[in-house]
């Protein structure tokens, strides 16, 4: 087990800069999820840590040792690939034993280690089978067994669940969480699936276009997104955004005005003095509201944002409404038993404490929202 430290990592492929000055610290035993859309550079970071790609600049430190110029195998990290990368011509036993055979371990030691790994992942019955005779979930377990057999300092997992069907993915996700709890090996896990990120990670590092957007616990990242990208990438349906302007009112408070929207925001939500310059300089802002923080006003309740129901999407546990309001469409998560009909006029209510306000550069202006540069974990790793 070991801590992984990434300092000012830069990596380009030709003219494309895949990773732009990323610094990260993954503490010993931590499960860190790198989350972002395709092509955001998350897999590249993983591959650089594994040693499959060389960093253009920056340092990779695993277990206190600078590994930039060390062979992949000597970095003592194990990688699990999206397509399992099992050797098709070898039995499960041979697949699991392969890293130990390469390390020229004695036969009896290999045999014992293979049996131990197979037992952890419940593969004892299929040791003599070939990968093609296994289901997707079983193949993924073999890949994991091959990764744990040489007792690595860290696991690097590159979207290991994305080739599995929905049900198996949930099951394997749980197995991975259990496996991590049991072995406690430092893990970097790459995914574009926010549910995986939220359920598995101790912390989530959100990336976009090679730049680290935010790092924090799942709750942090969800509740206090650093910018519009993080706010809209996490959450399904995504956060609603309403265009408008911000002006200061007496007593240090703020007032957001959009089309049909007029909200008073307390100084505890938005930070007053430094914000004034920013708002004056940039002008327009966006109001962000999560679908679950909006509710449909009861008959007789007033003061809400008027709108008209465009679509209803029942998903069983919830009902998603698309409402035409505030000069655009707003998504609302509501009770699945709601009697609302398409085309019905409704009034939307929300708690001004729950809103986010994003400046013209996309940053969250809420007082409790982090700004990337000021995050202690990053500053520490970069130093």
């Amino acid at each position: 087990m070991a801590e992984i430290l990434i300092k000012h990592l830069v990596k380009s492929f030709g003219k494309v800069e895949a990773v732009k000055d990323v610094s990260l610290r993954i503490t010993d035993g931590e499960f860190l999820v790198l989350l972002g859309p395709s092509g955001c550079g998350k897999s590249t970071i993983l591959r650089v840590v594994a040693g499959l790609e060389d960093a253009d600049s920056g340092e990779i430190v695993v277990g206190g040792r600078l590994v930039n110029f060390i062979d992949p195998v000597k970095r003592n990290v194990a990688m699990v690939f999206q397509n399992y990368a099992l050797y098709p011509h070898m039995t499960v036993r041979k697949n699991i034993a392969f890293p130990l055979e390469m390390a020229k371990k004695p036969k009896h030691e290999i045999e014992a280690a293979v049996r131990r790994s197979a037992a952890i992942l419940g593969l004892e019955e299929m040791l003599e089978r070939l990968p093609e005779q296994l289901s997707g979930g079983q193949r993924q377990r073999v890949a994991l067994a091959r990764a744990i057999v040489r007792e690595p300092q860290a696991f690097l997992m590159d979207e290991p669940l994305s080739n599995l069907d929905a049900q198996l993915r949930i099951q394997t996700r749980l197995e991975l969480i259990q496996l991590h709890a049991r072995l406690g090996i430092t893990t970097m896990y790459v995914t574009h699936d926010q549910v995986e990120a939220m359920t598995m990670g101790h912390r989530i590092a959100v990336m976009k276009d090679g730049v680290l957007q935010q790092i924090g616990t799942p709750q942090d990242v969800y509740r206090r997104p650093a910018n519009i990208f993080v706010a809209t990438f996490l959450g399904a349906p995504p956060m609603n955004l309403v265009d408008g302007t911000l002006e200061s009112v007496g007593g240090g408070g703020w007032r957001f005005r959009g089309q049909n929207v007029d909200v008073q925001l307390s100084p505890e939500v938005l930070s007053p003095p430094e914000l004034r310059h920013e708002v004056e300089a940039t002008g327009n802002v966006k109001l962000g509201l999560r679908p679950e923080h909006i509710r449909i006003a009861a008959p007789g309740e007033d003061g809400g944002l008027p709108g008209r129901v465009l679509f209803l999407e029942p998903v069983g546990s919830d009902l998603y409404l698309t409402v035409e309001a505030g000069g655009g469409t707003v998504q609302v998560r509501t009770d699945p038993d709601s009697p609302l009909q398409q085309g019905e006029n409704v009034s939307l209510l929300f708690d001004p404490w729950r809103v986010h306000v994003f400046g013209a550069d996309g940053h969250n202006l809420r007082r409790d929202a982090p700004s990337v540069g000021a995050q202690p974990a990053l500053a520490e790793a970069a130093s």
Binding site: A50, G51, L52, P72, V73, V77, A78, M79, F81, Q82, N83, Y84, A85, Y87, P88, H89, F98, P99, M102, A103, P131, R146, R150
Partner: protein
């Protein structure tokens, strides 16, 4: 009760349906017959030369020159085969051909697989240029290089004697085919990159990755290239003709050609020798036929 008009309509519809079904069946049958006719024609075109070769090998020489030509021999005369085996150096030529084609195939497989792996998986400066050069050599006809090759082989420095009439002289210039390099490179390119990376992380060196991961997965491609090379060299004529001058170094093709006399040619004997030469190739092809299918499917079956 339904109106009489309605009943008539229904009956009419039934009749229509029945007619359409009959037409459809006939059409299907007709298509089947047409397919067989076309296939039979092509099969005949492919087979007739073999039959034409097989027939005179079982006939006496004087029977060959009758008019109209006979396709089916009156009696199965095996004297031609007997003569080939005992009256010529056929066994020696066969041995030479086996050594020649076998060695060329073995060395070609080693070189082409390694080169293909390097071009597909290793990164080195000038990779694309070198690969383009290798492919460009495909455009040079063999006939154009025969003379320079002969001069090279006959004057190879360091050789105690000329390479003419020696196995190395026969084998070496035919070794390694650019087409084979290309084929191996394409095949290796279809193997998932993650396999190689996984092996690298598991501690395998470049050679171990090649030997333990890539090579076993290339079996279908290797078998196909092996058969192609072997068959091609088995009937290779031009180079063995140039580089061998003594009877005991000739290969089958050159040997058979030498049976043709300046004034008298025993076509029965030549036919028999040809049949004996072709037959093993047909057997080899039939045995390994499924590998050809596998190799052509290999791209589709990758995980």
């Amino acid at each position: 009760m339904a109106a009489p008009g309605a009943i008539a309509e229904v009956t009419e519809a039934h009749a229509d349906y029945a007619r359409a079904a009959r037409r459809n069946r006939l059409l299907g049958f007709g298509k089947g017959v047409a397919a067989y006719v076309v296939l039979t024609v092509f099969a005949a075109i492919a087979l007739i030369p073999f039959v034409y070769l097989l027939s005179p090998s079982f006939r006496k020489s004087y029977e060959l020159l009758t008019f109209p030509p006979q396709w089916i021999p009156h009696s199965l005369y095996t004297g031609n085969f007997h003569h080939v085996l005992h009256g010529t150096s056929y066994p020696r030529w066969a041995l030479n051909t086996l050594i020649f084609a076998g060695s060329v195939t073995a060395v070609t497989l080693v070189i082409d697989t390694l080169a293909g792996y390097a071009f597909a998986r290793l990164r080195f400066p000038g990779r694309s240029l070198i690969f383009a050069l290798v492919i460009a050599t495909l455009m040079i006809p063999t006939a154009a290089v025969v003379a320079p090759l002969y001069i090279m082989i006959s004057r190879l420095p360091g050789w105690t004697h000329s390479g003419v009439n020696t196995y190395p002289g026969l084998i070496l210039p035919m070794v390694c085919s650019p087409l084979g390099v290309f084929m191996m490179r394409q095949f290796i390119s279809t193997l998932p990159e993650a396999l190689v990376e996984a092996a690298r992380l598991d501690g395998a060196g470049e050679w171990q990755i090649f030997r333990k991961i890539v090579l076993p997965l290339m079996k279908p491609a290797i078998v196909v290239l092996g058969i192609f090379t072997f068959m091609f060299q088995w009937v290779n004529f031009l180079w063995p003709l140039v580089i061998t001058t003594t009877d005991n170094m000739k290969t089958l093709t050159v040997g058979i050609a030498s049976l043709q006399g300046q004034f008298v040619t025993d076509w029965g004997v030549i036919s028999a020798a040809s049949v004996m030469t072709i037959f093993p190739m047909i057997v080899v092809f039939l045995i390994f036929q499924r590998w050809f299918v596998q190799a052509s499917m290999a791209g589709a079956l990758k995980q």
